[in-house]
């Protein structure tokens, strides 16, 4: 594609044996046409490697999942039309509802504390601090750790007989908790792993949002005698709303995809597919994996994938609707006060 630029360089020097006068217009006309073609076609050439790979390996599988969910499709076997059979089967399977329930509860107990802690941390990080980069990098280290590594370490920490956490709880008089096999305790343990990995990341996102809030607002608030807490609720929070909404949406989507933590926390084997000995932390992703790769029922797995997508959409729409509702309520104390301060 560098042809046109090399012709450009050659153009002022007519090739030997040819009269310069006749060569020039001919060449420049050709060059112009080439350059016009280049301007038109290049953008498509630039986006096409991305688009082709993205369509082939990203979008096509998503769409094909819908098609597959309408078939009885056994891995390495037959494919027969099922209509909505996979879905009716799904809605009658108690373990589907169990997985749906687990996904929702795990999502709530991992996302809510995570975002609240992140907000508090970001607020503290926003002060002038000594060794500020040390804290920021430390916050992000769990994010750099893989799900597998994190879960394997936490499985040790949460060990029933010799785990550090039970030992520490024992010091304050709490009896040994069976984190791996208990039902609520298993979910709590998994939520702690998720929280550990993502809190620092979200704190940094909030911090970035806070730093783009004008310092003038804080000064005005301080002049009006607002305490630090009032400044936080009346200046920081309203200014951070789009960021908060974004993190909520992304975290809930992430929560619907929870897989590695329950899979590895269960200790492997059949328990890994089941999401714990009594399915107590089997999430939708894990359930899909079990249908597809343990029972080889790919059609059913595809139906689970679509049910999950539906859940994602419901979550996102719900979040956006709540956000919009709050927008429409004009007399919320926080926003009203912030606007006052802003003025």
């Amino acid at each position: 594609m560098t042809t046109s630029s090399s012709t450009h360089r050659l153009a002022p020097q007519p090739p030997p044996g040819r009269p310069a006068a006749s060569a020039r217009p001919e060449r420049s006309a050709w060059r112009q046409r080439l350059s016009r073609w280049d301007t038109k076609a290049s953008p498509y050439a630039f986006v096409s490697p991305f688009l082709l790979l993205f369509l082939g390996f990203g979008i096509f599988p998503l769409i094909y999942t819908a098609y597959m969910s309408l078939y009885n499709y056994r891995l390495g076997g037959t494919k027969t039309w099922a209509g909505l059979g996979n879905f009716t089967w799904l809605f009658q399977d108690q373990f589907f509802w169990n997985a749906l329930k687990n996904t929702v509860t795990l999502g709530i107990i991992s996302t809510v504390p995570q975002l609240l802690i992140a907000l508090g941390l970001a607020h503290v990080l926003n002060y002038q601090l000594r060794a500020r980069n040390f804290y920021r990098v430390t916050m992000l280290m769990p994010y750099a750790t893989s799900v597998a590594a994190a879960t394997l370490v936490f499985s040790q920490l949460f060990g029933r007989d010799y785990g550090l956490i039970n030992w520490m709880l024992g010091l304050v008089g709490v009896n040994h908790i069976d984190w791996q096999n208990g039902s609520w305790s298993g979910q709590v343990a998994i939520a702690i792993i998720v929280t550990w990995r993502w809190t620092g990341y979200n704190a940094l996102i909030y911090l970035a949002g806070m730093q783009s809030i004008s310092q003038d607002l804080y000064e005005a608030a301080a002049i009006d005698g607002a305490s630090r807490w009032r400044q936080f609720t009346n200046v920081t929070l309203p200014g951070l709303r789009p960021t908060i909404l974004f993190t909520i949406v992304v975290s809930t989507i992430g929560a619907t995809q929870l897989f590695g933590e329950p899979y590895l926390f269960s200790g492997g084997g059949q328990q890994a597919y089941n999401g714990g000995a009594s399915h107590q932390y089997q999430t939708l992703s894990l359930y899909m994996y079990q249908q597809g790769w343990q029972y080889l029922q790919l059609g059913r797995a595809a139906a689970v994938a679509w049910a999950t997508l539906l859940l994602v959409v419901v979550f996102v729409v719900l979040n956006l609707a709540i956000a919009r509702m709050r927008d429409r309520t004009p007399k919320l104390p926080t926003t009203a006060a912030a606007e006052e301060v802003a003025r």
């Binding site: 560098t2 993205f54 394997l152 996102i205 590695g260």
Partner: protein
């Protein structure tokens, strides 16, 4: 959680506030200083964030028998090298091969994502063509759909191509990302002046020449950030690799999955293997941590 590498925000729509940034910086001196409770909070959190890393080393450097004690040991012991050797030689995990494979996969994915992302990002940011807005809208519209939902057809596709258990099965689905394109477009919209592209065109440079000689040098800082994030995400990718690969030809996450999947009863060896597989990333992080932090925060505001 195979979400887009950084969950940056098109939701975080304060790009418009960028104009205020310089002013704010000059006032940084007036930012409130932290009092001691803030440091207490930060130090407690820092300890909570670091403790699991420390404890990995404790377990990895002790024998299994030493770990099965009450109270559990709190300081590292002397078995680290033995446990490393045992983990290294565990055939179900195949860690040596996993490290090489992960290096190859993550490098290829990073180069692809950054290069194709910059190329397409430049086109979306600065070139005019029919269907540009529609295509870009489509790209960011699909960014929020979790890619894990497409794994079933993807698996059939790879099985039909006889690519399962081969590295291309994990490279191809992630070698371009909508996030990469989005990230580079946002960076170039801001960093690359229209006049520069125009000047290149007046000088008769081809579009690719403009990309190569004008855009790439300007895009370099953003490309570096995207590269770090992509490498990290790719190294840590779990769900699809454990479906597509086996212990014959694993990436490190597949190796860890097999190590922790019940074949190996010895916790110390499992932790030693975890350490081996995590170490390369931790080393990168110790050197580039500040840049990665900067990149994530930048992405959050610019998005």
């Amino acid at each position: 959680m195979t979400m887009s590498p950084v969950r940056t925000g098109q939701g975080a729509q304060h790009a418009t506030r960028d104009s205020r940034t310089p002013r704010k910086k000059s006032r940084a001196g007036r930012q409130m200083t932290a009092r001691w409770p803030s440091y207490v909070v930060l130090i407690i959190t820092a300890v909570a964030f670091i403790a699991p890393f420390y404890y990995t080393i404790v377990i990895a450097s002790r024998s299994n028998a030493q770990m099965n004690q009450v109270p559990p040991p709190l300081i590292p012991g002397g078995e680290l090298w033995n446990n490393f050797a045992a983990a290294w030689n565990t055939p179900q995990a195949n860690i040596p091969k996993a490290l090489v494979n992960s290096l190859m996969v993550s490098t290829t994915v990073t180069v692809g994502t950054v290069f194709f992302g910059t190329l397409a990002g430049f086109a979306f940011a600065k070139l005019r063509f029919t269907g540009r807005n529609a295509l870009f809208g489509f790209t960011i519209g699909t960014m929020m759909i979790p890619p894990t939902l497409g794994v079933i057809p993807l698996y059939i596709l790879m099985a039909n191509l006889h690519w399962t258990d081969q590295l291309q099965s994990v490279i191809l689905p992630t070698v371009v990302t909508a996030f990469g394109v989005f990230f580079m477009r946002q960076a170039l919209v801001e960093a690359l002046p229209d006049e520069l592209v125009e000047a290149g065109r007046v000088d008769g440079a081809s579009a690719f020449r403009i990309f190569w000689s004008i855009v790439l040098p300007i895009a370099r800082p953003a490309m570096a950030v995207l590269a770090m994030l992509t490498f990290m995400t790719s190294w840590n990718d779990f769900f699809w690799p454990i479906i597509a690969l086996t212990s014959n030809n694993p990436t490190v996450q597949v190796a860890l999955n097999n190590l922790g999947g019940g074949y190996v009863p010895d916790h110390s060896i499992i932790m030693a293997g975890t350490l081996l597989c995590t170490l390369p990333l931790i080393v990168i992080f110790l050197f580039l941590g500040r840049q990665i932090v900067g990149g994530i925060m930048q992405g959050a505001v610019k998005g």
